[in-house]
């Protein structure tokens, strides 16, 4: 699946997008997987209580299920308008 990072997350993780091939059942499992990369990833994503999630460009939650063709995005609270 494709994973995207925006705004401060993109900057702090030093990554805008990547492909994840490991099978994960839902967003929570994807976050567990990414958190294994180190403290920065754990703090910015898994432990981040204000983390916003979109799956296939719709707002989603940690228990939203995922499949291999999904597009998942992580970002901070939005500030447009």
């Amino acid at each position: 699946m494709r994973v995207l990072y925006f705004a401060s997350l993109r900057e702090n993780l030093g990554l805008a997008d990547e492909s994840i091939n490991e099978p994960v059942l839902n967003v929570s499992e994807l976050l567990d997987l990414l958190a294994e990369r180190g403290q920065q990833w754990d703090e910015q994503l898994r432990q981040n209580t204000r983390l916003q999630i979109a799956v296939n460009q719709s707002l989603a939650k940690r228990n939203t299920s995922l499949s291999a063709s999904d597009e998942v995005a992580f970002f901070p609270p939005v500030t447009g308008g």
Partner: protein
């Protein structure tokens, strides 16, 4: 079928032209509510020299279209326009335009406010400001989250 116009763009927009487009050929419109958001030169006590608006291309359009669709279901509207700019913007520049057309004013006003409240807390745009202390991501305001509760009662 009412006209719904959504655009995410780097170029500026013309309020008169957008209003004209919304009204085109419809003489049943009695009320148009409009909202224009502008870049302020001061935010949370800091001078802002310019700002960059990042967005999640694709999801922004989808999110705005979805918010417009919800407004259409809740109120009797005759047209909706939402334009949001992205990229680099200077103080006093226009950021966002919302137009809602209806037979009567209450529907137009409520729908415009509803759209702005949802846009502010759900559409994937992020502002980064340049201040004398360097660049910083703008913090989301808790009041924007709270603003949604009035529509969820």
């Amino acid at each position: 079928m009412i006209p719904i116009h959504i655009s995410v763009q780097t170029e500026d927009f013309d309020v008169n032209a957008q209003m004209q487009q919304l009204r085109q050929g419809n003489s049943g419109i009695g009320a148009i509510a409009a909202f224009v958001g502008l870049v302020r030169d001061l935010n949370e006590g800091c001078k802002v020299s310019n700002m960059t608006l990042e967005h999640y291309a694709g999801m922004t359009e989808k999110s705005l279209a979805d918010i417009a669709e919800q407004a259409k279901m809740r109120w009797s509207l005759q047209g909706i326009s939402i334009i949001h700019r992205v990229g680099e913007l200077q103080p006093t520049e226009q950021i966002v335009l919302v137009l809602t057309a209806s037979a009567h004013r209450h529907a137009a006003f409520d729908a415009a406010q509803f759209i702005m409240d949802y846009l502010k807390s759900q559409a994937p745009f992020w502002k980064k400001e340049v201040t004398p202390d360097g660049a910083r991501w703008v913090d989301a305001r808790e009041s924007d989250e709270k603003a949604l509760t009035r529509w969820q009662a």
